[in-house]
């Protein structure tokens, strides 16, 4: 029986088209959403949930095949690389794809009741359309192996993200979205410039092909500009200090479910972009990649410290969470740039785990705002008594993001700290510990306000738990925050060969 099951699984996973289906499902689903709304508007939230669920299922055979065969490609149109566009499913693509798959269904289930209130009725179909486009764009960006295709999917992700921030219609959010749009446009422009330069230098757009042809070039200034433009462009998308200015307002003023996607997943697009940049330039001797790494380590460390520092002084719950995203992006970039096997492993794990934890936190915070309309810790004090389950989920998420041992947040930070020691730079292990301590300070403030203070606001005293369709995804994700930390062996074994390959300069 078990043998038969295994065989049919591998037969299923061997179907070559899963990779294209993975992006066609959410993108196709998004395209049809406005039309479905015109026909049967009540079905739209369920439709979006169905599409997200099917997309999530598509990731399973892909992961299976990746685990058994290693990275594999799909060639749309059948054109051999570098002549056509190549899609490639490697471990880092898998990481982002798995995070999207895991988080998209809960976010969309949560959205059904939440968006009905937070988004003006006429804009609802476009809320779901943009959310699905955003998720589909993220998947496309994760799996593409082509520079221009990467840019195209990055635009799908960015455009939908700008609009999703403003979709609620609050003037604060509209202003934040505009700021986000300006910064995002600069970053897209830089990335496009770099893609153009690389094409002019190599005549190719396929990443692996470009990476092969770059070391033979003798054009230091052009190469430096391309690398710098890519680096700054993706740092802006990832909101790495000191290019983080746009993030807090945008993520805090967006509707709760959108904040979850933006903070959990969209900033990771910048990280994936940085990883791809590294893969491109790893073999180029004209550029000292070690120097680039040194800059990124320091920027990552600065991000950790400054993000936590700003978060400590916030009163708005969602602003706190937004600043904490800057901190966590800092951990991930620092881990990557330390370039020791364990630090890279930790950064990869943290990319996934932070997505899970931050989604939990933003959804739980969104639920509090949904019930009470209040946003600051001062106003929300005592909410732990009237919405115990939701606050328990938030507290669990808070423990996880601080990195208390059995939770999801611990593993990544642990490996990054170990990696810093492995790289012979104990200072950065201290940064990890320092960041965790600061995080503990501001999350203790949250927990103190929720559980140990008397309620003052009427809305807090009369609050009830949110409906089950909102509470269930929050609770499920909170339990995963706890559980995934215990299952860390699996992803570690999965990622180790990928990290080793990356460090060897083979992609």
């Amino acid at each position: 029986m078990a043998a038969a099951l295994t065989v049919s699984w591998s037969a299923l996973a061997a179907w070559p088209h899963w990779l294209i289906v993975l992006i066609l499902l959410p993108l196709g689903g998004a395209v049809l959403t406005p039309a479905l709304y015109a026909l049967q508007r009540r079905l739209v939230p369920w439709w979006a949930l169905l599409v997200a669920g099917l997309t999530a299922l598509t990731v399973l055979p892909l992961l299976w095949r990746l685990a058994h065969e290693g990275p594999f490609s799909y060639l749309p149109g059948g054109w051999a690389r570098p002549y056509g566009v190549e899609l490639r499913f490697d471990e880092f693509a898998a990481l982002l794809a798995a995070a999207v798959a895991l988080l998209a269904p809960p976010v969309l289930l949560f959205s059904r009741r939440y968006a009905a209130r937070a988004v003006p009725a006429g804009r609802l179909p476009f809320y779901y359309t943009l959310l699905l486009l955003n998720l589909g764009g993220l998947l496309g960006l994760a799996i593409t192996a082509d520079l221009f295709n990467l840019f195209v999917f990055l635009e799908v992700v960015s455009l939908s993200a700008y609009a999703l921030v403003a979709v609620g219609g609050r003037p604060v959010a509209e202003l934040a979205a505009f700021k986000y749009l300006l910064m995002g446009a600069i970053s897209s422009l830089l990335i496009l410039l770099a893609v153009g330069i690389l094409f002019a230098l190599t005549g190719s757009l396929n990443m692996a092909d470009v990476a092969q042809r770059l070391p033979a070039l003798a054009t230091p200034a052009a190469l430096t500009l391309a690398a710098a433009a890519l680096l700054v462009g993706f740092m802006l998308k990832a909101a790495l200090f000191p290019l983080h200015n746009w993030l807090p307002e945008a993520h805090a003023s967006a509707p709760g479910a959108v904040s979850a996607v933006l903070s959990g997943l969209v900033v990771k697009a910048g990280i994936i972009g940085l990883v791809r940049t590294y893969q491109l330039f790893a073999g180029v001797e004209l550029l000292d990649t070690a120097n680039l790494g040194a800059i990124l380590v320091w920027l990552g460390a600065a991000s950790v410290v400054m993000g936590s520092f700003f978060a400590v002084f916030q009163h708005d719950l969602k602003l706190m969470l937004a600043y904490s995203t800057i901190t966590n992006i800092g951990y991930i970039v620092m881990g990557w740039a330390l370039a020791s096997p364990q630090a890279m492993l930790g950064a990869s794990l943290h990319l996934f785990n932070h997505a899970l934890i931050k989604t939990t936190l933003f959804l739980a915070a969104g639920a509090l705002i949904y019930r009470t309309g209040l946003r600051t810790l001062e106003e929300l004090r005592g909410i732990g008594r009237t919405m115990p389950l939701n606050c328990a989920a938030l507290a669990l998420g808070a423990l996880a993001i601080v990195g208390v041992p059995p939770t999801a947040g611990f593993v990544g930070k642990w490996f990054i700290a170990l990696g810093a020691l492995q790289a012979g730079r104990p200072f950065f292990a201290l940064v990890v510990v320092f960041g965790a301590l600061l995080a503990a300070v501001y999350y203790v403030r949250i927990i103190n306000a929720f559980y140990f203070r008397e309620p003052e606001q009427k809305a807090v005293v009369t609050a009830r738990e949110v409906p089950w369709s909102m509470l269930a995804p929050v609770l499920l994700l909170a339990l995963l925050c706890l559980g995934i930390g215990l299952l860390a062996r699996l992803p570690v074994e999965f990622l180790e060969p990928a990290v080793a390959r990356l460090l060897d300069g083979r992609s």
Binding site: H17, I20, L24, G28, V31, L32, P34, A35, A38, Y74, L75, P76, G77, G78, W79, P82, Y83, G84, V85, L87, A116, R117, P120, A121, G122, R123, P125, F126, Y127, T129, L130, L133, G137, F148, N149, V152, E155, V156, L159, S160, Y162, A163, L164, A166, G168, G169, R170, P171, A177, F199, A200, L201, T202, G203, T219, P220, A221, A222, T224, G373
Partner: protein
């Protein structure tokens, strides 16, 4: 103090950009990698491999069809993003939303009467402009032109007609019930044609190469061109209508 600093930084940035640009191969240099690597095959074998007589179309719909699919999606995303921020944020149960602006006093918005000459000329030229748009769309895979360009011409025609003949006419030209389907036209056409290609060749967005299937291949490409064109026109027209209603 701030201004000189900004100017100095801009000059530095410009120098860095110029230094990099100076190292790029000169435009038109025959042995530049842009001409010798990937493009060489497009130029030598493009027509035979793709059946598109216009090499731009060969790259657009064949070699890099995924990019064009993505671009069509970017346009669709832009349209939805426009709607998501332009459509009235009517109150629905949350006190945070701003009230829709009070109806304006009559006469506050000046109604500009369209001159009879302009109106006559636009109506006179409309069929010819439409014909030209169709020509650009369909001719695209033979000579310069294509769906994106033709679609813009069609969209501009729609805007001109709306300005001259009023909104009632634009509702007849672009029925409200059809609009959400037309928004989806271009990306949906890519999905359908891509899936047909998958059935025929085993690759998403593949085109059958055998001479016997020549007609099918032409039909697939023309379908995409028309869908891109009509979709583009609808995009321009819808954003115009959404802006106007605000």
């Amino acid at each position: 103090m701030k201004k000189p600093l900004v100017i100095a930084l801009l000059i530095l940035l410009a120098l860095a950009l110029l230094a990099a640009m100076a190292e790029l191969p000169a435009v038109g240099q025959a042995d530049a990698p842009v001409h010798t690597h990937v493009s060489a095959r497009y130029i030598e074998q493009g027509e035979a491999e793709t059946g598109a007589h216009n090499l731009v179309t060969a790259v657009l719909l064949n070699y890099r069809g995924m990019d064009t699919f993505g671009e069509v999606l970017v346009l669709f995303t832009a349209l939805c993003a426009g709607f998501a921020v332009l459509l009235a944020a009517a109150r629905n149960g949350n006190k945070h939303y701003r009230q829709p602006p009070a109806p304006q006093e009559s006469g506050a918005v000046p109604v500009i009467a369209v001159s009879p000459v302009v109106s006559f000329v636009v109506r006179l030229l409309a069929p010819f402009i439409a014909l030209f748009a169709a020509y650009v769309i369909l001719k695209g895979h033979l000579s310069p032109g294509g769906g994106f360009q033709g679609g813009m011409i069609l969209g501009a025609l729609f805007i001109a007609l709306t300005l001259v003949l009023g909104k009632q006419y634009s509702a007849r030209l672009l029925p409200v019930a059809w609009r959400p389907w037309l928004y989806a036209l271009a990306p949906a056409a890519f999905l359908v044609v891509g899936m047909i290609g998958l059935q025929l060749t085993g690759y998403f967005l593949g085109y059958p190469q055998e001479p016997a299937w020549h007609g099918v291949r032409e039909a697939m490409m023309v379908t995409l061109e028309i869908a891109i064109g009509v979709g583009g026109a609808v995009l321009v027209a819808s954003l115009f209508l959404a802006l106007e209603s605000d």
